[in-house]
Structure formats: structure tokens, C-alpha cells
């Protein structure tokens, strides 16, 4: 009897164990991969992505018009040779899926708020935030608009290419991460491409300071707020040079007092610290300034650096065009690149295209609100967040006239709605912008190709072999009154919202400026004479470095342009230390501080990985902020607020040393700017010495090392602790996990010469040698040459894999 019982028990235990190891049973907060399925050497993790190892692969695919070749070179750059655009886009989809399938799917899931379904309870909050922000709603609207274009089907042959790859996969071929998180690729759709695009939009245009500014205005009062947070510097280097004549009527002029502001604090703290370090450089010089007599175009977008990399390098050749550059995996076309005639690229525009409206509920159920005197009802969108190893979470998101209710206030009767340009159904075929750019031969064609662009707004930089250089602030912007959209506004009147768009031809733009160069680094788009109100987050230092250099340099070679992209000089450090130098004498400092202070004041302001002064200045700036803005620090504990910008603090130190904000409330004395500066210098040198004594590194590259994380942040798949030059205020804008994600220099000579590098590799497979092979070259400031090989045979020497796609008969 006991024998039989034991037998049955063993049987039972075995079956349970199999189920557990197969992933049918899991528990805990971080579900383990199903070990049996995962470790099994026949089709588990040991056999991932085997198809990239096959030298010659021939596939039959439905719907192709002609034969397409994808040749991978010795860096695994995909060179696509197709007989027409549709087939080329199909092949782009295939190639991106072949190398980046998990990344594409992960980004689409992240945008849609579906990560918890593969990762587990850890990502619920992130998912809910994406749902409340209406990311999927935005993507659905995008597809709704795109489908109205008669080019939708042909451009989204890309989707079929992705699916042709997915359908060719067996369990053994799946990328590693699918095995780790135990799921299977699902069919790719235009909606997923839209989601991927919206994820990028969120990074670039998903920010506003309306809540922060509303809090500050409430607590500081109008006078102090305006004084500490001015929107313009005395001297600015806008993207569109100062002195440009804007000949159209002004729409500004409605003063702050008459705006319908929500004048209560929003004390819920949301801690959305995203987007720090996001920015980009782009510049172009005309032939008059270059060593070749022809334009040179440069672009280095600074994004969150990741593995697999943000960008996929691709060369697309058809009888109509021959283009090379980088694409955003999941989306057709080349976003930054060049062809035999032109080069193009983008940097982000900081203009605020996301406004917050306070919706006051008229019923206790919070489903009704007033708009223009009429009671309106919200629409519901039921969001189900599936959670691996847990129960689904149901969230009902309310949609108002303005957009989704995305945040609550502490006032029980009011919630906040989001009006975001990226929610709008597009009325153009904006998805074709980066497809059409590939075939442009001059600025006229490029301008036409990019007119349809809506969001996220970008500075579109351009240079052509025929000599033209141009820059256009491109995107759709609401025409705003002065101060409009800077704060949370009342949502009870539709006039408080956006009514008119700035006509495209009134967006700031310039072609062939007399100074001989175009440049953008996320600074203000235009000077104060631009008739529309511009507000947002703008860069204050990098742009000066770029403009100074380009103004002073002549007969510039492409190599000099590459070197300039590595420049680690910081105007922020230089501005500050020059002022500090004049205020602080060595006698003001304790014994033992003198030598270090001398080092600081004689520093060349270069953020080199092995330099120590960047660390000291970092400590010093933090102390200055802490000691000056103690009043705002107190607010920060319970509210979303921002400190005044660095340039404003320095301006106040210089011009208003007795300003009341310099008095630190936590001390008994009354301090002025000089006291604060001396105190901060002392404290930071103390901290600097203390770090040294405690054996901590004071080398910039070790103090703030760069981490390039895998999408899932798993250290095993990431590259950690890279000692790299640069800081966010330098042209080489490398920071904690951000930096130049693609450095490109294109010399538009008779035979166009391209050079570029990015910190990663073409393959998304962590076990591939092409996964992160370019990081070191990138760190050292080295470049690879980019070739517009006219035919597949030209690649015979460095062909590492050839994939032939044949139409299915």
C-alpha cells in the first residue's frame, strides 16, 4: 500500500516538476524563465538566432514583385538591392526583424503598456502610466489617419517583410529574450510600427512643465516666478540665426493675467524624471567654409543609449535611389542619412506640444464636467494590463474633450487631462517622410517630401551636393498666446485650448545663411522677434560651442568635423568658473584648499574621462544649487517643481548678489551671493578631498561612468562602466546612460563620402560578435566609412551573409 502511495506521489511530483520547468506554473515577483524549456539545448537558449549563421539564405516570400538581395557586410550593415520601392521596404522589414525582432516587439509592447505580460508585476506602474497617457490610443489614431493615404499599403509592405521573417522561425531560431521571458513573436502590424513611433515621440515630445510651473507660480507668486524663470537669455544663438526677418502677423499678446490658469498647487508628486540628456547636434557647412569646396553635413542625435542600439544601419538601393543611413527598427525609411545628392538629419525641438488642463467634475462619480457651459460626459477606454504570474489589472481611463485624464490632483473635484499633439489623427501621409527623403536630389524635393511631417517636431537639417544647406523647424505647432501652455489651464472653456496651427511656411527656417553654416542643438528655435510664443525646454550651452567653432573655423575638413563631434568642452563650467574666479580669493578658503582651487581655475573645461576637475565642478554646482535654492528644495519635497536653470543662477550671482534667494534660511546669518559661492567652493573641495581619502575615484569617467543597458536592464546583456569623455553640456554630450547615438559626417563631394559610428552593433543577439562591436570605436571617437555600393558584387570582399528573397510563384 505504501509502495503504491509512494509511486503515485513520485508520479505526481514528476508531473508538477515538468509543469514548473515548462513554465506552466510560476510564482514570485520576478517569474523565472521556465528552466527546462529554457536550458534545453535543442531549441532553448542554446540555439538562438541560428539563421544569421547561414552564409547564403534563399527565401521565397509572398507578394514580392521581383528578386531582392540583402547583403550583410563585415559590420553586418544590411545592403538592400531591390528593383522597386515596395520590395525595398519589404526587405527593410525583413532585415530589421532578422536582427532586431525582440527590440521591435519590446518597444511596441512598452508603448502599448504591455510589458507586464512578459516581465511580471515589476512593470505594472510603467504600463499603467503608458495606458493613462493614451499611447495606444495615439498609435491607433495614427494608423486611422495613415490608412486614408493611397500610399499606405505600398509603404507598409515593410510589415509583410517583418512577418516573412517571423513566419520563417522555428522555436529554436527565436531570439534569446523570447526564451528568457517565455513568449513567442506575434504578427507585426502597421499599428505596431505606429506604437514604435509613438514610443520615440514620447521620448522626444512627451514632456511638459505645466505642473511644475503651476506649483511654482502658486508658491512663489508671479513676481518671483517671472524673475527666477525667465524664458529668454540676454544673448541667444537660436537655431534660426538672430536678425532673420519674420514677415507675418503676430498672434501673441494675450497677457498672463487673462489666461485661464488653474491656480492651485498640484501637490501629488509624480517623479517623472525621464528625458534627461535627450538632445542632439546637427550642423552643416556650405562649400565656402569647407576644405572641399562642397557642403559637409553632420548629425549626432543624443538619445538613451541602449542594447540593442536605438538605430539600425541600412543601405537601400533601387533603380530610383541609392540611400544609406539609420532607421528606427520597426519603422520604414531612413531617418538620418544621405544619398548620392543630399544628406539629412534631425535634432529635437524643445517647443511644448503637450498641455495640461484641469477638469473639474460636476458629479461625485467623476464622469461629467462642464465645457463652454454645457455638461459633458467622459468616454471610457477600458485598459487591461495582463501580468505574468499574476492577475490582470483593469484600469478605466477617462477621455475628455482635451484628451485622457492622466493624473489626479489633491483636490478631489479636479483631475488633469492631457492635450498631446501626438494623440491627433494625422491628416497627412507623415509615415512617408523618411521613405521619400531617400529619393530626394535637392532642397526643393526634400522640402516637399518633408512638408507632411507632424510630430514629434524636429529641426530638419539638410545639405546637398549642389551647394545648398538648410534648416527648418519642422512639425505642427499650436499658435499660442504669450505664456499660453506654460501652466495648467482650466478645462472648462474650449478657447483655453489650441485653435490654430502655425502655418508650415511660418515655422522658423533658413536656407543658405550668410554665416555659411546651419546648426541646431535643441536651443530656442528663433529669437524674440519671431511672432509666435515659443515655450518649452531648450538647450543653453552646447549650441554656443557649436556656433563659436563654426564661426571661427574655415576650410574645414570632414576629419575636423569628426573631431568636433568629440569635443568635450563645457561652456557651463567655463562660465561659472570664470565668475567664481573673480569672486573667491585663495585667502577665503581653508588651508589645503588652495592647490585644488588653483587646479579648478586653470582647468581647460574639457570633460575628459581621466580628468578630475569635472568631478569637482559637478560637486560644486550641486552645492551652489543646494545652498541657493533651499526655498525651492523645501517645495521639492512634496511637489513637482524645477530649480531655476543654470544660466539664470549665474546671471543672478553676477547681477543681483543681494537677491533675497541667496539668503539661506537654514542658517542664522544673512548671506549674499559671494557668501554662497565661497561656502559652496569650500564644501565641494571638502567633498572632493573626502572622496579621495575614502578611496573613491575622482576621475570623471569613473565618477559618472556610462552604462549602456539592454532593454530589459539585465546586466548580462548590458555594457556597464564605460569611461567615456563628455557631458550633456558639451558637444560630445555623453552622460550616465545617454549620449551620441549615431555620429555621422557626410562630405557632399562629387563622390559623396560618409563616415559614422554608433555605440552598439547591428545584431540584437547578445551572443553575436555584432552585438556591441562598435562601442569601443565610438568611445575612442573613431569612424567607419559608409559606402553606397552600386551593386551587390561590389560587396563580394566583405560579404558576411547573403539573403535572397524571391517572389513566391
Amino acid at each position: 500500500m505504501t509502495q503504491k502511495f509512494l509511486y503515485v506521489l513520485t508520479m505526481f511530483v514528476t508531473i508538477l516538476l515538468v509543469l514548473f520547468l515548462n513554465g506552466n506554473i510560476h510564482f514570485g515577483k520576478d517569474p523565472l524563465p521556465p528552466l527546462g524549456k529554457f536550458l534545453n539545448p535543442f531549441n532553448g537558449i542554446w540555439t538562438s538566432d541560428t539563421r544569421s549563421e547561414i552564409k547564403d539564405l534563399t527565401i521565397e516570400a509572398n507578394g514580392l514583385k521581383d528578386k531582392v538581395q540583402i547583403i550583410y557586410d563585415d559590420r553586418r550593415v544590411a545592403h538592400i538591392y531591390a528593383q522597386n520601392l515596395e520590395d525595398a521596404l519589404f526587405a527593410q522589414g525583413y532585415a530589421e526583424a532578422q536582427n532586431r525582432l525582440f527590440q521591435m516587439e519590446f518597444l511596441a509592447m512598452a508603448a502599448a503598456g504591455e510589458l507586464s505580460s512578459i516581465i511580471g508585476p515589476k512593470t505594472i506602474e510603467i504600463d499603467l502610466e503608458r495606458r493613462r497617457r493614451g499611447m495606444k490610443y495615439a498609435a491607433e489614431n495614427a494608423v486611422k489617419g495613415w490608412e486614408k493615404s493611397d500610399r499606405f499599403a505600398s509603404s507598409f509592405r515593410y510589415v509583410d517583410g517583418v512577418n516573412a521573417y517571423i513566419n520563417s522561425l522555428s522555436q529554436a531560431d527565436l531570439p534569446m529574450e523570447y526564451k528568457l521571458f517565455d513568449f513567442k513573436p506575434s504578427t507585426w502590424t502597421a499599428l505596431k510600427s505606429a506604437l514604435v513611433f509613438k514610443q520615440m515621440s514620447l521620448v522626444l515630445a512627451g514632456r511638459n512643465d505645466d505642473i511644475e510651473n503651476t506649483n511654482l507660480l502658486y508658491y512663489l507668486g508671479k513676481e518671483d516666478f517671472n524673475h527666477l524663470y525667465p524664458e529668454h537669455q540676454k544673448i541667444e544663438n537660436p537655431v534660426i540665426p538672430q536678425g532673420t526677418n519674420f514677415q507675418f502677423d503676430s498672434l501673441r499678446g494675450k497677457p498672463l493675467d487673462t489666461l485661464s490658469l488653474y491656480r492651485k498647487p498640484i501637490s501629488n508628486k509624480y517623479n517623472e524624471n525621464r528625458n534627461k540628456g535627450i538632445g542632439s547636434n546637427s550642423w552643416g557647412i556650405s562649400g565656402s567654409k569647407s576644405s572641399t569646396g562642397k557642403p559637409i553635413f553632420c548629425n549626432d542625435p543624443h538619445l538613451s543609449l541602449g542594447l540593442p542600439s536605438v538605430w539600425f544601419e541600412v543601405h537601400i538601393h533601387t533603380p530610383q535611389f541609392n540611400a544609406y543611413g539609420v532607421s528606427f527598427p520597426g519603422f520604414p525609411g531612413i531617418m538620418i542619412g544621405f544619398n548620392e545628392y543630399i544628406a539629412w538629419g534631425e535634432t529635437n525641438v524643445g517647443q511644448d506640444v503637450e498641455d495640461v488642463f484641469a477638469v473639474e467634475w460636476t458629479n461625485p462619480e467623476k464622469t461629467k464636467y462642464m465645457l463652454d457651459g454645457i455638461e459633458k460626459e467622459v468616454k471610457y477606454r477600458i485598459e487591461e494590463v495582463k501580468v505574468k504570474g499574476g492577475t490582470s489589472i483593469i484600469d478605466t481611463v477617462k477621455y475628455t474633450h482635451w484628451g485622457p485624464i492622466f493624473k489626479a490632483t489633491t483636490d478631489k473635484k479636479t483631475d488633469l487631462a492631457l492635450r498631446w499633439i501626438c494623440h491627433d489623427e494625422p491628416d497627412t501621409d507623415e509615415f512617408n517622410v523618411f521613405i521619400d527623403a531617400m529619393a530626394c536630389k535637392n532642397y526643393d524635393e526634400y522640402q516637399k517630401a518633408t512638408n507632411k511631417y507632424i510630430s514629434p517636431a524636429q529641426n530638419f537639417g539638410f545639405a546637398a551636393k549642389d551647394g545648398d544647406i538648410a534648416m527648418r523647424v519642422n512639425g505642427r505647432f499650436p499658435a499660442k498666446y504669450d505664456q499660453d501652455g506654460r501652466f495648467v489651464e482650466n478645462g472648462n472653456k474650449s478657447v483655453n485650448g489650441w485653435s490654430d496651427w502655425i502655418p508650415k511656411n511660418q515655422n522658423p527656417q533658413i536656407i543658405n545663411p550668410s554665416r555659411g553654416f546651419i546648426a541646431s542643438a535643441n536651443q530656442v528655435s528663433a529669437d524674440k522677434t519671431y511672432p509666435y510664443y515659443f515655450t518649452g525646454k531648450f538647450e543653453r550651452y552646447r549650441n554656443r560651442s557649436i556656433n563659436d567653432k563654426l564661426t571661427n573655423m574655415n576650410a574645414i575638413s570632414p576629419e575636423q568635423m569628426q573631431a568636433m563631434q568629440q569635443d568635450a568642452f563645457s561652456y557651463k563650467a567655463s562660465d561659472y568658473i570664470n565668475v567664481i574666479k573673480s569672486m573667491v580669493k585663495k585667502e577665503d578658503l581653508p588651508a589645503g584648499h588652495g592647490t585644488i582651487f588653483d587646479q579648478l581655475t586653470s582647468w581647460d573645461y574639457q570633460y575628459k574621462a581621466n580628468a578630475e576637475m569635472p568631478v569637482l565642478f559637478d560637486l560644486l554646482y550641486k552645492k551652489l544649487v543646494e545652498n541657493t535654492w533651499d526655498e525651492i528644495q523645501v517645495l521639492k519635497q512634496n511637489n513637482d517643481v524645477n530649480y531655476p536653470e543654470a544660466w539664470r543662477l549665474l546671471e543672478l550671482i553676477q547681477s543681483e548678489p543681494e537677491n533675497k534667494f541667496f539668503d539661506n534660511k537654514t542658517t542664522g546669518n544673512k548671506e549674499n551671493a559671494k557668501d554662497i559661492v565661497i561656502k559652496s567652493v569650500k564644501e565641494s573641495i571638502d567633498a572632493f578631498i573626502k572622496r579621495k581619502n575614502e578611496g573613491e575615484s575622482n576621475k570623471w569617467g569613473e565618477y559618472k561612468p556610462l552604462h549602456i543597458y539592454h532593454l530589459t536592464r539585465l546586466p548580462a546583456f548590458s555594457e556597464m562602466d564605460i569611461a567615456a569623455d563628455g557631458c550633456p553640456d558639451a558637444i560630445n554630450a555623453t552622460g550616465f546612460s545617454f549620449g551620441p547615438s549615431w555620429r555621422m559626417v557626410i562630405s557632399l563631394e562629387d563622390k559623396v563620402k560618409g563616415h559614422a559610428v554608433y555605440p552598439g552593433g547591428q545584431s540584437g543577439n547578445p551572443a553575436s560578435k555584432y552585438y556591441k562591436n562598435m562601442i569601443d570605436a565610438w568611445r575612442k571617437g573613431e569612424y567607419y566609412s559608409l559606402n553606397l555600393y552600386a551593386k551587390p558584387e561590389d560587396l563580394s570582399k566583405n560579404n558576411t551573409q547573403s539573403v535572397i528573397l524571391n517572389p513566391k510563384k
Binding site: 520547468l21 528552466l35 527546462g36 536550458l39 548580462a716 551572443a767 553575436s768 552585438y771
Partner: protein, 120 residues
Amino acid sequence: MKIVLSIICVILGSLICQYFLPWWIVGLVSFVVCYIFLSNKWAAFGVGLLGVLVLWIVKAYLADQNFDVPVSSLLASLFGQISASAVYFLTGITGGLIGGLGGLLGSWTRALSIQNTSQK
């Protein structure tokens, strides 16, 4: 002799079945092999364990040679800085455990059915 033969049968049977059936088929293969050949339960456990363990380790080792970066080293840091050989062992033991339990149950079933027939 019987034991060596059984191990070979487990290895070959699992190798063939694993190409088109789920990984846990190794348990069933061991079950069948041990049901046919072995009357000693513990020997059967050892046969299943060893057969699948050897097969999985060898196959994992061979698969590892296809990659530029060994999967074993990625797994080693994924599992928190263990050694690559520990990863092979972990792989082998995971499959081996199911193989062993399958074998055990196979010969046990055999014993019980013989018992049943003799009782009748």
C-alpha cells in the same frame, strides 16, 4: 551491460525525439527504456539521469561553439556570476532530473505490473 545499453537507448531515443517533440519527452523516453529493460528502480533513476545529462551537456557544448560569444558565459552572468562549467552542469541536471524521474517511474511501473500479474 543492460545498464550501458539502457543509457545508450535513452541518449539515442531522446536525441531523435527532441528534434520534433517538446523537451520533457526525455522523461517519457527514459520511462519507456527503463520499463523495458530495468527492474532496479535506483539503477533506472541513474540511467535516466546520466543519459539525459550527458546528452544535454554534449549538445549544449556543441551549440555553444556556433556563437561568437559563448551562451554559457552569458548564462553564467545571467545566473549571477557562476562559472561556465556550472552552467553546463545546471543544464545537464535540469534535463537529467526529468530523465531520472522518468526512468525511476518506468522501472517502478514495470515492478508494479509484474507484481500485479503474479498476484493474479
